[in-house]
């Protein structure tokens, strides 16, 4: 990959679209990915993912047919892998909404190259997350008890329960994310429709493009809808992980009941999600030849966000520790000492090393601009954030108030393969996405290119 000379823009900023792209070449670049014949690596990758997914389906079937005793859960640790994995996946989803909504509101134009990709990641992560509450019910056929309908004794659900809020939050999140993503896709689907030769492909894309023709009137309402959705999705994404944190924080359990949980969980979710964006984006941009759209500047920005959010979770860890001492509650003090130095202490230090220490390398510009370093760190963060949830959940439960009720949690093979199976679901959906849907928000990148051309004209005029 040769270095491309990029003229400095006003304020010394590096151009977001590089390599002398035009509107037409951008269209070819992005649409070409779905139009070209299936790449050689795709089928093996897809079949592998599908196999892993079927393992997960098998585990779920075994669990539902046999009962949740096949998991390692038992008193006192009644919540372990299931809820850890649920929070892990839903957290990963948050980066997509953050990029599409919050960065949009803050006019961070670099988001346009990665938002489609990250939003898709959100949807698939939420799908993976959604499995756990359902199968953890044990009797999944009674899931309608979660909705405001009377059960056989005419009793309605308890709306005071954080688990009910979770149902409302996660389903709202899934629906709104899907709609937001689809609305963003419409103009690009129209592009694919208009490039397709008459036939089935044209009809399918034509159907999903809903007859979009890019009229100024369309764009006007479309842009307003997008702005409003961004404004709606921003508090939504914060509320989702807030409510997830309340599953724990509304309890009176030391280690769970902490008022900082809502913002702390939101920061952690963004942190884990951006790590996953990086994990997926670093290889994808090379595979699909997107280096001129997803530039080093984009990756560097993600690294900076990782560093910032990593420090935020570090802040929360340290504040919790300080207040555990300062608050003076002996149970609270014990829980935190046990977390760091008890039987699961190794998990705690894995968490601290991965989440707080490893992103510190991003203070160096060299690390922020070297793809393999960021890829490695992003894997560390993914691991660390999984362990964060594991540490919070399991260490708080396994030492009950009475030593006679102490215990340990050990995952069974069903626990482990179910978790691996969710990765199968995630990657299966992801591979379908990269094959059939424009993976870069084409119309938005074109708008960025248009602005960039204007700025260059200003610079040239000023220079001459």
């Amino acid at each position: 990959m040769s270095e491309i000379h990029v003229p400095a823009r006003p304020g010394g900023r590096v151009a977001l679209v590089q390599g002398g792209q035009t509107f037409g070449s951008l269209t070819n670049l992005v649409s070409g990915i779905t139009e070209a014949s299936t790449p050689k690596w795709w089928w093996p990758a897809f079949l592998t993912s599908l196999t892993v997914l079927s393992v997960g389906v098998g585990m779920a079937a075994y669990l539902i047919s046999t009962g949740i005793g096949v998991w390692g859960l038992n008193s006192p640790v009644g919540w372990a892998f299931d809820i850890t994995n649920f929070v892990f996946w839903i957290g990963i989803g948050h980066a997509g909404t953050l990029i599409s909504a919050i960065l949009f509101l803050f006019r961070q134009k670099w988001r346009t190259s990665i938002n489609r990709f990250a939003e898709a990641m959100t949807l698939f992560a939420v799908a993976c997350a959604g499995i756990y509450p359902l199968i953890h019910l044990g009797r999944v056929w009674l899931m309608w008890w979660l909705f405001p309908a009377p059960n056989a004794n005419a009793i309605y659900p308890n709306f005071r329960s954080p688990l009910m809020w979770d149902v409302a939050a996660v389903s709202t999140y899934a629906i709104v994310s899907l709609l937001f993503w689809y609305v963003g896709l419409i103009p690009d689907l129209a592009t694919l429709r208009d490039r397709a030769a008459p036939g089935l492909r044209q009809r399918i894309y034509g159907f999903f493009a809903l007859g979009w023709r890019g009229a100024a009137r369309h764009w006007q309402h479309y842009e307003m809808a997008y702005l409003l959705l961004a404004g709606i999705a921003t508090p939504l994404v914060i509320s989702v992980h807030t409510i997830v944190s309340m599953d724990f924080a509304t309890s009176i359990l030391p280690g769970w009941h902490a008022t900082i949980f809502p913002p702390y969980f939101v920061a952690g979710a963004v942190f884990s999600g951006f790590a996953m964006v990086l994990t997926l984006m670093v290889p994808s941009r090379v595979i699909f030849g997107l280096e001129n759209i997803v530039t080093t500047r984009h990756l560097e920005n993600i690294c900076k966000i990782l560093l910032a959010t990593g420090l935020m979770v570090g802040y929360a860890y340290s504040t919790e520790f300080f207040i555990a001492w300062y608050g003076g509650n002996p149970y609270e003090r014990f829980t935190f000492m046990n977390r760091a130095f008890g039987p699961y202490g190794w998990a705690y230090w894995v968490m601290v090393t991965c989440n707080v220490l490893s992103p510190q390398i991003f203070w160096f510009k060299k690390a922020r601009t070297t793809p393999w370093i960021m890829f490695v760190i992003s894997i560390f963060v993914n691991i660390g954030m999984w362990f964060e949830r594991f540490v919070i959940i399991v260490t708080s439960l396994h030492r009950d108030f009475l030593p006679s009720s102490w215990g340990m949690f050990v995952p069974t093979w069903v626990d482990i393969f179910e978790f691996i199976g969710t990765f199968g679901l995630f990657f299966t959906l992801f591979l379908i996405f990269v094959r059939f849907v424009p993976i870069v928000a084409l119309s938005e990148v074109k708008a960025v290119l248009s602005d960039q051309n204007h700025e260059m004209q200003h610079v040239e005029r000023a220079a001459s």
Binding site: T22, F23, G24, T27, P148, P150, A154, I155, Y156, P157, N158, F159, R160, S161, P162, M164, W165, A168, A169, T172, I175, V176, L179, V183, P187, A190, T191, R193, D194, R195, G206, L210, G211, W212, R213, G214, A215, A216, R217, H218, W219, Q220, H221, Y222, E223, M224, A225, L228, L229, I232, P235, L236, S239, I243, M246, S443, E444, K446, S450, D451
Partner: protein, 178 residues
């Protein structure tokens, strides 16, 4: 649905399109529509359009979600089947807030998207413009402009020349619907 005749032209860049819109507006045309692959800054002002009314639709949708979300929880927990759970009062107002909030968001999002489709008269899978052979570039790199002819007493030849003089390519006439 009455039919009227219009003209369409393609421009190379947003700047050419914008200057053509200005020229046509000065020449007295008012029913102009532009078709572009991405939204162009300032085009609504150039076309003399008002700001979208969509925020009001969303406000109504959000309020509906908030009120109905709260009332469902209140009614079911206080009136329909009151139960004490977790030592909390029947009407645990604080505890209704999360779901009320989520319902606000959900219905606001529905109304944002529904309202956008309604205002845009979408979905509509076919449109006469799709019959114009070059129009497929409107989602690629072409910046199109349509104008209704009968408004000012000018013949087709004159409008075609006017569009071409602004930098328009592929100028053709077409049947415009209302």
């Amino acid at each position: 649905m009455k039919s009227a005749t219009g003209a369409i032209a393609r421009f190379d860049s947003p700047d050419h399109l914008m200057s053509a819109i200005r020229t046509l507006r000065e020449a007295g045309f008012s029913e102009i529509e532009a078709y572009t692959p991405f939204p162009i800054h300032g085009i609504d002002e150039a076309l003399g359009r008002q700001r979208s009314k969509l925020p009001w639709v969303v406000l109504v949708g959000g309020l509906f979600g908030a009120i109905s979300g709260y009332l469902v929880q209140w009614y079911l927990s206080v009136v329909e089947y009151p139960l004490i759970v977790g030592g909390k009062p029947y009407d645990s107002r604080e505890a209704w807030i999360p779901i009320t909030f989520e319902m606000t968001i959900l219905f606001a999002a529905f109304s944002a998207i529904g309202g956008m489709f309604l205002f845009n008269r979408l979905p509509r899978l076919h449109h006469p413009l799709f019959d114009v052979p070059t129009f497929s570039r409107a989602t690629n790199d072409g910046f199109f402009l349509t104008v209704r002819i009968f408004e000012v007493p000018q013949d087709r030849q004159a409008i075609s020349e006017l569009l071409a003089s602004c930098g328009g390519h592929d100028v053709t006439t077409l049947d415009m619907e209302d």
